[in-house]
């Protein structure tokens, strides 16, 4: 089913479990990365499961006015907001713990370490910058789609992302990272 377009998979997903899984394997990893960057490692499973079940239920009403990816990331963002209201974000120490675990178990330790550091640095950003940055870098969305999701001006999105990057560069530099 991998050769099918999103629209074809969406049409099939309403009845076909394999089509739904193909669709979610295509877009889900970026949604997972977005969720992880916003709510932290310990909450990502809860958020993603809620998101997938919501998507599964909502697909029958999905009319394709927005791209599926944009819709999925909007749902993911809403699930993250709901989680953030209920749970205190992970402390920086928790990220440092994940960091050391990653170093032991992952093949690409250097990249995993950098990503963990970025996620850790994101926790120091204001939420509005964090979500804009995450939608850009983790979800890989265009600025226009981010503006649509966050319901704000394009210039505002660019400004938030720019400020987030500046803060992150500072954070990463303080941790000894050099590009």
């Amino acid at each position: 089913m991998n050769h099918l377009t999103d629209a074809e998979l969406i049409a099939l997903s309403k009845r076909d479990e394999v089509a739904f899984e193909t669709l979610m394997r295509r877009h889900g990893p970026k949604a997972a990365a977005l969720a992880r960057s916003l709510v932290g490692e310990s909450q990502v499973d809860d958020v993603l499961q809620e998101v997938f079940i919501s998507v599964h239920r909502g697909l029958k009403n999905f009319r394709g006015e927005a791209e599926f990816g944009t819709w999925l990331h909007r749902i993911t963002l809403n699930a993250c907001y709901a989680k953030l209201k209920r749970v205190v974000p992970e402390a920086l120490e928790d990220y440092e713990h994940h960091l050391s675990s990653d170093q032991n178990v992952q093949k690409n330790a250097e990249r995993a370490q950098l990503r963990s550091l970025i996620e850790s640095g994101m926790q120091t950003l204001p939420l509005e910058q964090r979500e804009a940055f995450a939608l850009r870098e983790f979800s890989g969305l265009e600025y226009e789609s981010i503006a649509e999701i966050l319901r704000c001006q394009l210039g505002t999105v660019k400004s938030r992302i720019s400020r987030a990057k500046a803060s992150l560069k500072e954070f990463l530099t303080s941790k000894g990272v050099r590009p």
């Binding site: 479990e17 979610m24 970026k30 990365a33 969720a35 992880r36 990502v44 079940i53 870098e137 560069k169």
Partner: protein, 94 residues
Amino acid sequence: MDNPKDDPWDNLIREASQPDQRDMAAVDRALLKVRQHNRKHQIWFRTLQGGLATAAVVAGLSFWSFSHNSSGGVVGEAEAQLAYDAYSDAAGGW
């Protein structure tokens, strides 16, 4: 450095932000949860269907039983009438 695309930090962050094995694994776990959710939903739906079917059968049987008893009464009355007629005939004959 004027072009943001040439900023090595941007490239570094973009590369590190790509989905990794943890994200794939989280997707697998979420899909498993969806499957379980669907199974539960199917079981619930079938149980409801079974319950409704049982209720329909019980209602049908009750109605049939009620009708049967009522018609039994009619048959009983008819039998009594026949017995009375037979008695009357016999009495008349007497």
